[in-house]
Symmetry: C2
Amino acid sequence: MNEKLSRAETADARRKHIVETAAICFIEQGFHQTGIRDIAKRAGVSLGNIYNHFDGKTELIAEIATLEADELAELQEQLNQTEDPLAALEAFVTNYLALCSQPAYAALTIEIIAEAVRNPKIVGGFLENRESLIATLAGRVVASRSGTTAETAIPERDCAEFTLDLIEGLAMRAVFAGRKPSKKELASLKQAVKQLL
Amino acid sequence: MNEKLSRAETADARRKHIVETAAICFIEQGFHQTGIRDIAKRAGVSLGNIYNHFDGKTELIAEIATLEADELAELQEQLNQTEDPLAALEAFVTNYLALCSQPAYAALTIEIIAEAVRNPKIVGGFLENRESLIATLAGRVVASRSGTTAETAIPERDCAEFTLDLIEGLAMRAVFAGRKPSKKELASLKQAVKQLL
DNA sequence: TTAATTTGAGCGAACGATCGTTCACCGCAT
DNA sequence: ATGCGGTGAACGATCGTTCGCTCAAATTAA
């Protein structure tokens, strides 16, 4: 193919590389403890050049936030493709827990949340993807209930949110303790999700 | 009593006042966006004087973290004093949700967590109090189960953690949306907690 | 095709602001 | 007289961002 990359291609690659490097820095040092110079140095790029690709520091974390949110889309797809709703839910719990339990993912999430509190721009696509995931999840919840109709059941929307809460909470505790969730904890989690249905 | 306060008394009052002012600043602007000068100015205290009372900026957020953790002790007491375990749990859910739903409390919590990731000193008393609360909660969980013995039940310790996860998750969502949890949400939450038992 | 021109990636010094912290000094309570 | 709460100027470092510049690729004109 093309041995030489077009200008647009190298620019895109550079841009991507800068974002990834920024993510690494934010994970290791935190958003506010990371200077543009740190990112530039680590990415092997000049200080000023970063401003040729990004409006500023905020756009960097915002872009990372959307990248994180995009990972939810994959989980959502798997959630939809599995026919048996209960099996789909079980697999989702395992997969989403595995994602949230990654120290790098957790660290980034915390930085993003802390920043999003005061900067609505960052929340951007993040909430949209999550909202979409919640809706899908709620659909599977209601599907898994067919047959056992209890009129005291938790509204499926709330049930979906609670499921995410449980997964994220367990993951956060594990990450803070510097370990992966144990099999026992995963079993408890699956049990809890089942009992919420 | 004493019209004039002793030197030690005024010093303690000053210290307290500085911590509270710092908390306000951290809530409004975030930890890293707040300068020592901001705190000094707002507290009506000289810049250098803050260093007569605190080692530095980190000690301020650490002290705030312990203050936040102390609020958990009150909830724990209520949890123990109510005889009926199920009623105690219901009341706890309501009270802890109310606490976590306060925007100021939530904002501080996020700042503390984000900072605690890279500074173990801050976690200090925070995790101890939480651990104690979890233990108490687990005790009430097991008490509320007496009579209905299902051998598939979630371990009480996990059940206690899950309960906190649900409360905190719901509260965080409400705060992020700029509202209080609705009565419907509270009802769903209580229902969910019951189903976890 | 070649020549002229525009475009934008890439660079690093420089800017002004602000950061956390220290310091020498002051004055009152002990 | 001693010590400590209180002060604010000053320090060195670092911050995010801007600026003028170079140069090669892309585009247009010839």
